[in-house]
């Protein structure tokens, strides 16, 4: 088995007459943080949505842990350990923390013929799992509406770690966060890597991702225009490449 966790080969996708992806190769190694960069509309989200089974590629192949996969829903991807944290779609505001944390993976026990969720156990585990990555919350019954953007990202990351995700996909995790909160979220991302989780970090802010990434992949107009190890490039260089690609067009 290769050390590639994810391998996407020649991915093409069109929406009507718009070619969103024109044959993209993309891969992620084990315990690697990959920054996926590009301007709005470059195809970052489409690529990820194809990976997790939200969209189907028109052409191309996807391998996860060495075997070919063809997810038909995000649920299937999630079962194999691919956890995605979308900007606004990570948590449900009106629901208590513990219900959010276990949503879709509720712990249940049988009472006679009925399957009943284990509230007490889940509430305790939420607090433990969050404490484990250094977050303390007031109560598992608190709704997530009261949490700050950073806390919400942290909860989503803690959830991925707790459920043994192998790949964590973060969509603009630091957008709209304060400087202090951004720093904390970056710490959580490093923590996830330390536990052997690979991370895809989608952003258009090179400075945020530069701090934590091992590798940077650049997309523009549905094509891969760059793939660099972080140590070989400076943020300024990346910015220039993206700007040039956008400018040429």
């Amino acid at each position: 088995m290769s050390d590639l966790l994810v391998q996407m080969k020649g991915i093409k996708k069109s929406f009507g007459r718009v070619q969103a992806l024109r044959g993209v190769d993309f891969d992620v190694k084990a315990s690697e943080i990959v920054g996926l960069l590009g301007d709005n509309g470059a195809g970052k989200s489409t690529l990820i949505k194809i990976l997790v089974g939200y969209h189907k590629a028109d052409e191309g192949e996807i391998y996860f842990e060495g075997s070919k996969v063809n997810f038909s829903s995000p649920r299937e991807a999630r079962q194999l350990g691919i956890e995605t944290v979308y900007q606004d779609l990570a948590l449900i505001n009106l629901m208590p923390l513990w219900r959010n944390f276990f949503l879709g993976r509720e712990m249940t026990k049988k009472i006679g013929p009925f399957s009943c969720i284990e509230r007490r156990k889940m509430r305790r585990i939420v607090l433990d799992a969050l404490a484990d990555i250094g977050i303390s919350v007031r109560s598992p019954d608190e709704t997530v509406a009261f949490m700050s953007g950073g806390e919400r990202q942290a909860v989503a990351i803690a959830r991925a770690i707790y459920f043994g995700a192998k790949l964590l996909i973060l969509d603009e995790p630091t957008a709209a966060l304060s400087v202090g909160e951004t720093r904390k979220v970056l710490e959580h991302i490093k923590e996830a890597k330390k536990r052997g989780i690979s991370v895809i970090f989608i952003t258009h802010n090179i400075y945020h991702v530069y701090e934590v990434a091992d590798r940077l992949v650049l997309l523009e107009h549905g094509e891969k225009i760059g793939d660099y190890l972080r140590k070989d490039v400076t943020p300024q260089y990346i910015m220039d490449v993206i700007a040039a690609a956008a400018g040429v067009k």
Partner: protein
Amino acid sequence: MRGIALKHKIDWLNFLRIKEFGAVVGIVVFFVIFSFLSNRFATLDNLMNTLTMAAELGIIAIGVSMLMISGEFDLSVGAVFAVAPMVFAIMVNHNFNEYFSLFLSLSIAVGIGVINGLVTLKTGIPSFITTLGMMMFWRGILLAVTGGFPIMLARRIKMLDYLGGRVIGGLRYSAIWFLLLTIVFWFVLERTKYGNWTFATGGNLGAAKALGIPSERVKIMNFVISSILAGFAGLTTFARFKIVDPTLEQELELEAIASAVMGGTLLTGGYGSILGALIGATMISMVRNGLVLAGAPAYWYRAFIGIILIVAAVINARIRKKVAG
């Protein structure tokens, strides 16, 4: 010192987190007021009577609440409430077996729920419109089939006693069913995966789908629950009167929504309570009963309910802002 103050505040919040808090306070207030206004109000027999009167509305409100929490609406419950007993009455009068008739009338309710759900989800039009159309359609069918005349039960059927017959005093079986169904659906909503998915589907549809929740199935199921409970409630009413009118309870759908809202359920989904629906429906029934006993003209009842609905919604919204954002 600060630690103590903080702990105190958390306790208070836990108290407010009880979703039925507003409704409980409301019903207690009305209970006290009407007890003062009439000495016949707080008798056991009258309270059983109140619960029985609440049952028919309340059974519908349970289903409506489930559906509202998952983010959809059902205006067709009033029509289904009349369709189910109408089908039952016509079949039984044509000498069909009563259990088969019961099965078929509830199956039609289920069918209406499925159609409501499929049309809403597959076409993407709001459920408000789908179910408004369904309401008009079925009311029209009822009038066309019956020619506008009520249908009476032609023979005595023992089974109906267990739907709406007397148990003791003012208490009828419909009230027992009401309590039983409240417990069942409280459990479903608060203690099962399905309940968690219902909250999630109504709370943030995109997030629920992204996390792999089968939101469409959840919604269709709740359309069915809403419809079958409306049909069942209609049958309990029929069991009481043995007669069904095609225009039976025409504004029931709105009262059911009112009960749900009074009980703390959010019109826009994602938040709500089955126990709240029980309290909401009982509150409406209590006000109706209390006003009559207090000697107020019956016409005042609707005006009263209107005010209570608005006040309840405002109070519930305030509480929710504090605990759920």
